[in-house]
């Protein structure tokens, strides 16, 4: 970064925003122009009143006839200026708040289009900081921008007026202004790097806060409140130090900029006095010029503010842009979903997959006929969830393909595949909305559909007992429900969609054995139009399956019926018989 790139990148950024709301920007600049014109007019009016009203009346003893006109002129100009101010600031507010709203919407849309591999590397707190403080900071320059644009006009007008009065005065004014702006740009450049650190610091504060609130139960059950508070304090203090650094640097520039207009006036008076002495200009001219400059004191500072905000904006926007620059978009095809085709067959061939570099699945082949219920079994961390995620196309295989009824998952258009595939994750995620909203996810379903789905999921009885039944509001992530209740809602959410393929990743792990048995029976007898893939440990679930796949050592070690696998695969038998053996051991121990 050089001072020049701050100006160049800054202009580009500003242009990007202005393009989004050209009308608001134009109105704001128009208001600023009105304001600038009013300032010039008020200087002229004051000069005119001095020369034609005050001096003639007071020093030359003329009658005060013009007094009312003078008063009216001043108030008129003030009213005009007020209108300009309202126009400018209101339109600038629209521009700034509107841009923030739009950028936030764009950000979410962008994040929704990115692959899980990107999402996997982010923290929610940091993404939240980008959407919140970085967007605010990034668009900070829009606040004073129209004003500054107006001020620039004003400056040009003022300098022209001064030059018309006297070229030498004009030259001094130009030199002064150029000096001010050069100092501003320099300050902006110096603080840019510091602002970057400030924004990173804000991101960190937000991340720690989010994670700590998210994991509050864990923090509290371990009694680590002080520890996380200490962590937070550290981050907050680092942010504090950065803020102090950036602000103290800036105050250096600010005092110079505050002093400069006064300095300019003194300079002008000295030059002006010499010129009057030389008979080149009149005293009234110098008074007008001095007045013009005194009015400019604040606007000149404003240019400083814009450049200052520009440094902050560039730093904030850099982090926003980093999210926009993530281009790991999910690639969709053109295919529309076929929703009435009944259960769908799955064919996976030579699938390799790794989250990072460590392979999780290698050379996986899977051929499942339509309507099959397939159980996926394997030890902890063997890749069962990974396989489920691939089937629902939350991730894509690194090589090889997965076909649903002969169609590669990647050929489906956006939002089409979920019409055929429903996926229930291992950790049930519920939204902070009603029970109904969590099941339908805002799609249209009849009450009868909801009733059937909740019955199959074994959720009817507890929903009935909730204070408002289906319309009970749940907390974020469904905190007001028990673990098993949450899981059953997640299950109902999948069932109601009557998908052609249903993937259940250990979806009954938090449910007691009796309710689980009920759910399994219901699913079995419902004769769903679906192929079902269920990840499970309990033989009860597995025995309901037509086929079983045993995953271990990053691949499929066995595929067949439960009975076949018990014989063929010792690893599988060990998993399936662990509890039985334990029960036997305990019985023996007891007797």
């Amino acid at each position: 970064m050089t001072p020049w790139t701050v100006v160049r990148d800054g202009s580009r950024l500003i242009w990007r925003f202005v393009k989004m709301h050209p009308v608001a920007f134009s109105i704001a600049v128009f208001g600023a122009a009105m304001f600038a014109a009013a300032i010039l007019a008020s200087a002229l009016v004051i000069g005119w009143i001095t020369d034609n009203v005050i001096i003639p009346i007071l020093d030359q003893g003329q009658e005060p006839d013009l007094l009312p006109i003078a008063a009216a002129a001043i108030i008129g100009v003030a009213a005009f200026k007020a209108v300009g101010i309202v126009l400018r600031r209101t339109a600038a507010g629209w521009l700034q708040s509107g841009t923030r709203r739009d950028v936030r919407n764009e950000l979410l849309a962008h994040q929704l289009s990115l692959k899980m591999s990107w999402y996997n590397k982010q923290t929610i707190g940091d993404l939240l900081a980008v959407a919140d403080s970085d967007v605010n900071q990034g668009t900070g320059v829009l606040g004073p921008l129209p004003y500054a644009t107006g001020v620039t006009m004003l400056l040009i007008g003022t300098v022209s007026m001064i030059s018309l009065i006297d070229p030498w005065l004009g030259v001094s004014a130009v030199v002064g202004l150029v000096a001010v702006i050069a100092i501003d740009v320099h300050g902006s450049w110096v603080t840019y790097g510091m602002w970057e650190e400030v924004q990173e610091g804000r991101g960190r504060v937000s991340s720690i806060a989010h994670e700590s609130f998210d994991g509050a139960l864990t923090v509290k059950s371990l009694g680590r409140e002080h520890y996380v508070s200490g962590r937070f304090r550290e981050a907050s203090e680092a942010l504090r130090d950065r803020l102090i650094e950036v602000n103290s640097t800036w105050t250096k520039y600010q005092v110079i900029i505050r002093a400069l207009p006064q300095l300019l006036i003194v300079l002008l008076l000295v030059v002006g006095a010499a010129r009057i002495d030389a008979g080149a200009i009149t005293a009234g001219n110098v008074v007008t010029v001095a007045y013009l400059l005194s009015l400019l004191a604040f606007p000149i500072q404003l240019i400083g503010f814009v450049l200052w905000d520009l440094a902050g904006s560039l730093a904030g926007w850099k982090r926003v842009q980093a999210v926009f620059d993530a281009d790991a978009h999910i690639e969709y095809g053109e295919r529309a979903a076929t929703t009435d085709g009944g259960a769908a067959a799955i064919l996976g061939s030579a699938v390799d997959f790794a989250y990072d570099t460590e392979p999780v699945l290698t050379g996986l082949d899977l051929d499942i006929a339509a309507g099959t219920t397939l159980a996926v079994v394997g030890p902890t961390g063997s890749g069962k969830s990974t396989l489920s995620l691939l089937l629902a196309r939350l991730w894509d295989p690194d090589s090889g393909q997965i076909h649903l009824d002969g169609r590669d998952l990647r050929t489906f258009a956006g939002s089409e595949l979920p019409k055929e595939v429903s996926y229930v994750a291992q950790d049930a995620f519920l939204f902070d909305t009603t029970v109904r909203g969590n099941i339908t996810l805002d799609a249209v379903f009849s009450d009868a559909d909801i009733a059937t789905a909740t019955r199959l999921a074994g959720a009817t009885s507890f929903i009935d007992e909730l204070p408002d039944g289906l319309d009970t509001e749940l907390g974020e992530r469904g905190t007001t429900l028990s673990g098993g209740q949450r899981q059953r809602l997640a299950l109902a959410r999948a069932l109601i969609r009557k998908p052609r393929l249903m993937v259940l990743d250990d979806a009954t792990s938090a449910v007691d054995p009796s309710v689980e048995a009920e759910i399994l029976m219901a699913l079995k007898s419902a004769d769903l139009p679906s192929t079902i893939v269920v990840v499970a440990y309990r033989p009860s679930s597995i025995k309901l399956a037509d086929e079983v796949v045993f995953l271990d050592e990053k691949r499929i070690l066995g595929h067949g019926s439960h009975i076949e696998l018990l014989e063929a695969s010792p690893g599988y038998a060990q998993l399936m018989q662990a509890y039985e053996k334990e029960a036997r051991r305990l019985r023996e121990e007891a007797s």
Binding site: I124, A209, E237, R258, V511
Partner: protein
């Protein structure tokens, strides 16, 4: 809370909560004003140059001009330097004060009960310690200085005006007073509007953070459009409120301009009339008008910063409100420490209802003896998790009393209690850090060797050693880079490392594979010899080996006893067990 959160109260509270804000404040203010006072010399000298030199009827004396110019410049430099020092001091105290306030607010939220923290959306809570505090920061750094400097400038300009021409000064002053009184009235409306803005900001961040967390579900169910719509509507609402509030503030601000016009016009008319009467020179009047400008400019800044101030006050109000929420799980006033060794747990007629909800637990009385291994089973939603949270004092009962190690639970200092008691919740939450650091949450001073040993003791050595980065493996947000079962393993080691005397496991192995589950259970049983453990599990193999089983149903304990005896009762437990046994029967 019936506290009235007026802007005045709020500011006083902020000073109380973050006393750093007050440090050297007087000196800072004095310096800011002194700096301002000195800089005011410059315009006065400028006036004199105009009045006595440039407009002098006798013609211009260049040496006089230069002399005065030199005085003006010296005053300017001194004023500016003093002003900067004041500014710096203010920046430092305000940043430090706000950082303290931020940490304090965070600490307070963390001390609240789990229920309290989870009752609000994460994003909204985060906004309390980020954007609400940022509005304050903005105000302190821009507005605060502007307000102080501006106000002192108003005072100074008025003083100079009085000395210069007291009659006119009186008129100006009268005008300013009337105007400021009007402003005060409008400020109240503005304050209410800003409260609304801060509220919508909190809501929109809550919706945003939920939507970001939900990305996997959104993707799986193809609900991208409804999610975008939900966020868009929250953003739109926020935008509307921000915009209308801003517009109101702008109209308010613009009145300062009209006021300035009226005041200037009045002064000219009055000046001329006084001048005709009592012989005021044109020079004096013109000079006075310049002084008026010195009054009006800071006044405009003051009006503008008052708007900032309202926004900041709204942010502050939200922060103070958090600080004023009482901590439900309080530290004891007459603490009593636990005796060393195993801990017992006793419930006497305990009842519990979540706020505003029905009774979830009713009349629970039980005793878990020192060193016993107890299992809690029951239908989902029967209150097992609630029971566990009560037993480790994450919640306080609505009725009845709980004793841990023979001491009333509310009397045990919390840090001490957490040292001795470990609870592993149903959801294995991990922090976005390495495995080793996650385990250290259980015991800060553990070194890598101890952590490694703990994994091995529990029979998980093979698993950690199998990871490419071993203990240094990063687990991702919420532990998302591990499988669900692996997360639970880490959570168990984390609780284990603190060698708790009471271990409460709430479905802590629900996602772990059966072989590992059984092995882990054995290891824990072997290692907890003499210590007390309470295990909640739907996998009834836990109950089979337990010293006592408590069977929950609809918030009551319906059966209790050893596995064998319970089976004979042929009741709830026998039913559950039959389903479990047929479910685990491999053939």
């Amino acid at each position: 809370m019936s506290t009235d959160y007026t802007t005045g109260t709020i500011i006083r509270r902020a000073f109380m909560e973050a006393p750093v804000l007050r440090h050297g404040l007087r000196l800072t203010l004095f310096m800011a004003m002194a700096g301002q006072a000195i800089t005011v010399v410059t315009p006065i000298v400028i006036q004199q140059i105009i009045d006595e030199e440039i407009l002098a009827p006798t013609g211009i004396d260049m040496s006089g001009v230069l002399q005065k110019a030199a005085v003006a410049l010296v005053a300017l430099v001194i004023g500016v330097v003093v002003g900067r020092v004041a500014l710096l001091r203010l920046v430092k105290t305000s940043s430090s004060g706000l950082s303290d306030l931020r940490s304090k607010t965070f600490g307070h939220i963390m001390r609240q009960s789990v229920l309290h923290v989870q009752a609000e959306r994460r994003g909204t809570l985060v906004s309390r310690v980020t954007s609400d505090i940022s509005t304050l920061q903005e105000f302190m750094e821009w507005g605060g200085i502007g307000l102080i400097v501006g106000l002192s400038q108003v005072v100074l300009a008025t003083a100079v005006m009085v000395i210069y021409e007291w009659r006119m000064a009186l008129i100006a002053l009268g005008g300013v007073v009337i105007y400021l009184m009007m402003m005060r009235w409008f400020q109240r409306i503005l304050a209410a509007k800003y409260d609304e803005v801060r509220h919508e900001v909190g809501v929109s961040l809550g919706v945003m953070s939920e939507s970001i967390s939900a990305i996997p579900v959104v993707r799986a169910y193809g609900t991208e459009d409804t999610t975008k719509a939900r966020v868009a509507s929250a953003m739109e609402k926020r935008f509307r409120v921000e915009f209308t509030t801003g517009r109101f503030g702008n109209i308010l601000y613009s009145t300062a301009e009209i006021f300035a016009g009226i005041l200037t016009a009045t002064l000219i008319v009055a000046g001329v009339l006084i001048g005709i009467d009592q012989g005021m020179s044109a020079g004096t009047l013109v000079a006075f008008l310049f002084l008026t400008n010195l009054l009006i400019e800071p006044l405009q800044i003051v009006v503008e910063t008052l708007e900032f101030a309202q926004s900041a006050a709204s942010g502050l109000r939200r922060v103070i409100r958090v600080l004023d929420d009482e901590v439900e799980i309080e530290e004891p006033s007459d603490p009593e420490e636990l005796r060393p060794g195993g801990l017992s747990v006793r419930f006497d007629h305990v009842g519990y209802a979540y706020p505003g909800g029905p009774d979830v637990l009713t009349d629970i009385s039980l005793e878990v003896a020192v060193g016993s291994r107890v299992a809690v089973v029951g239908e989902t939603g029967s209150g097992k998790t609630t029971f566990a949270k009560l037993a480790v004092r994450l919640l306080d009962p609505s009725e009845g009393a709980i004793h841990i190690g023979g001491v009333q639970a509310p009397k045990i200092p919390l840090a001490h209690l957490r040292d001795r008691v470990a609870f592993v919740p149903q959801e294995g939450f991990l922090f976005d850090d390495t495995i080793a650091n996650n385990v250290r949450y259980g015991r800060t001073e553990s070194d890598d060797a101890e952590i490694w040993t703990a994994f091995h003791e529990l029979g998980l050595g093979e698993w950690v050693d199998g990871l490419t980065d071993g203990l240094e493996t990063r687990v991702g947000e919420r532990g998302g880079s591990l499988s669900a079962g692996e997360r639970q393993l880490v959570a168990i080691v984390r609780a284990w490392i603190g060698s708790p005397d009471l271990l409460v496991l709430d479905e802590a192995t629900s996602a772990v594979d059966p072989v590992l589950d059984v092995a882990l259970r054995h290891a824990i049983a072997r290692l907890t010899e003499g210590r007390t453990s309470v295990t909640i599990a739907h996998r009834l193999s836990t109950a089979e080996g337990a010293d006592e089983v408590f069977v929950f149903d609809g918030g009551r304990i319906v059966e209790r006893g050893r596995h064998r005896d319970l089976l004979k009762l042929n009741g709830t437990y026998a039913g559950l067990y039959a389903d479990w046994a047929s479910g685990t029967n491999s053939v």
